[in-house]
């Protein structure tokens, strides 16, 4: 079924001109005379000619493909970011190649290697599993990299102001009268980002003279672990008399899982428990969820990330990689209220 695709030479032959003339009209470069131009166009049309991007990029020695490393497309936050990145990349003439790393450093390195063989012009990391893998060694100084909504110690970074966001969330809860406020860390959030949010939480707690309690949560396992302590089922935590009356979650998905648990356990939200998330994914706004959360400006993150990466690739940006912070907002909805006693 598959007859060989027409080449520029075929077109030249049919149009009765030379290769370069065809090339010139295809690229819209040097003006080509009316008559010859018409013949070339006709031949292109007749042969259904389509330039071979591989050949072009081979000779130009650079592609316009971007490698996009996604943590988990199943997570609406990443999916939305991926979509926005793709759109902005396309708007600048780049084609995106996605890889789902699922937070696995091995998979990440393998994906990076593949993308490197395709000579992608740059990388966008939407999640960065970290460095045990040698990703940094393979990339640094070789090809432009931008970390969007995640942090790598090298390369440009475009991130939400995670510290401030967590502060806002915590202060909101404190303002409501809560004193026993826990931070729930979801493993899907990269360490650096989680660290920043945790620090914001701690800072706000400390500023009010309140003690911090950081938990690591595996929603799928229904297990929580007190920072540096022993693991236990989440039911136990909320059954204890000293249970937190509010939690700041490291992301919306974790917060939603927590709501889900609370609903099943008969804990009333926000009566018995206030919850605030982070991200403002679409479903957070649904009436049934109505999650109080910290909104990340995804559009802005994506736009700036691609802009910076394109700048590096095209040699417009020459200074050393920097860090860019995008503002966040507190969105108050229905999952937060004063604690029972207040």
């Amino acid at each position: 079924v598959t007859e060989r695709a027409a080449t520029i030479l075929d077109v030249a032959r049919v149009a009765g001109v030379s290769k370069s003339t065809v090339s010139n009209v295809v690229r819209g470069s040097a003006a080509v005379t009316g008559e010859k131009r018409r013949r070339v166009l006709a031949a292109i049309d007749q042969l259904d000619y389509r330039p071979n991007a591989l050949a072009r990029q081979l000779v130009q020695r650079h592609t316009n493909m971007l490698g996009v490393m996604v943590g988990d497309l199943g997570n609406p936050f990443y999916a939305e970011m991926a979509k926005l990145i793709e759109r902005h990349a396309a708007a600048r003439g780049y084609t995106a190649m996605f890889c789902n790393t699922l937070g696995d450093a091995k998979a990440e390195l393998a994906a990076v290697e593949t993308l490197l063989e395709y000579r992608v012009a740059g990388f966008v990391f939407l999640a960065y599993a970290g460095d045990a893998s040698g990703v940094r060694g393979a990339l640094e100084g070789r090809v432009p990299v931008v970390f969007v909504s995640c942090e790598g110690e090298w390369g440009d970074t475009v991130c939400a102001n995670d510290f401030h966001g967590a502060e806002l969330a915590t202060e909101h809860l404190i303002g409501l009268g809560h004193t026993s406020i826990a931070y729930f860390s979801d493993p899907i959030v990269e360490d650096a980002v989680d660290g920043a949010r945790r620090a914001g939480y701690r800072s706000a707690m400390a500023a009010s003279g309140l003690p911090s309690q950081v938990f690591h949560w595996s929603p799928s396992l229904h297990l929580v672990t007190l920072d540096g302590g022993e693991a236990g089922p989440i039911e136990e935590l909320f059954a204890s008399p000293s249970r937190p009356s509010a939690v700041v979650s490291s992301n919306d998905l974790g917060a939603i899982d927590l709501l889900d648990f609370a609903d099943r356990a008969g804990l009333e939200v926000p009566g018995d428990l206030s919850v605030v998330g982070f991200d403002d994914v679409m479903i957070a706004g649904m009436a049934r969820v109505s999650l109080t959360t910290i909104r990340q400006q995804q559009e802005e993150l994506a736009r700036e990330g691609v802009e910076i990466l394109a700048g590096r690739i095209e040699g417009r940006l020459e200074d050393s990689p920097g860090e860019h912070r995008v503002d966040v907002d507190l969105i108050v909805r229905g999952t937060t209220a004063p604690p029972r006693g207040a």
Copy 2:
């Protein structure tokens, strides 16, 4: 910062052998003697050589990239499918290039053209905007295409059994005692798929001697249109005395939007209104949503789609394109119950 990447020639020079010898060891083809082999490997390591996939695929005259056309990555169903497709493609040695078409035929055609210039080995359509655009003309007979979870009249198709799914949903409602059951059609669902689901709905209604009512819904606009009739705000529909007591939605996201509307309008679900969705996206299972729905076996859809496409590409499948149906299941949750009067 960017010094030229090492080529096969550099490696040959450093190792003191010929190009072809290097090529042989890189590809693991013809056995290369121990000593030379070692030298080559050392050189590769020293120069950090990485084969250029562009050059390779140019000379081999075929790539191992797959074009994946996604409707909307913001929709969890598509996002999940995209993720699964990528995983299965990678497992077979293919790299996926995604394009978000947002249901726009123009964007779809442009994306197809780009992918074609990259000479992708095949296409997976997760959404197919349709044919006004000339996508078919550009692809048919030229490169293998598989439609997964959407229908194109040409090329292989791997779809859930939409007709049967809608039947199941409708019969479930009928079994509960509903007689006024509407079908809500969400524009994001491709026409062919929507058509099949609608037909399943109609068939089940007819089998019970019940009249069909098909509405086209634009969740974002809060507008419903009776099939072939006039548009009106959704509030009106549910305020009328003859309002449906149950609806079958063409997809989960539409169903969830409907729940959201019902919650805001003070309609009780499932007391005043039963709702069943289609897809079984992750959030459908959340306690707060608890949507009765038709589950699609996404893993199976993705696996089979990629398998068929790879078969075509690799020349294993030679028969004419066919249609493959994957079973669906009814998942009963909390949004369906007998109507008020029953």
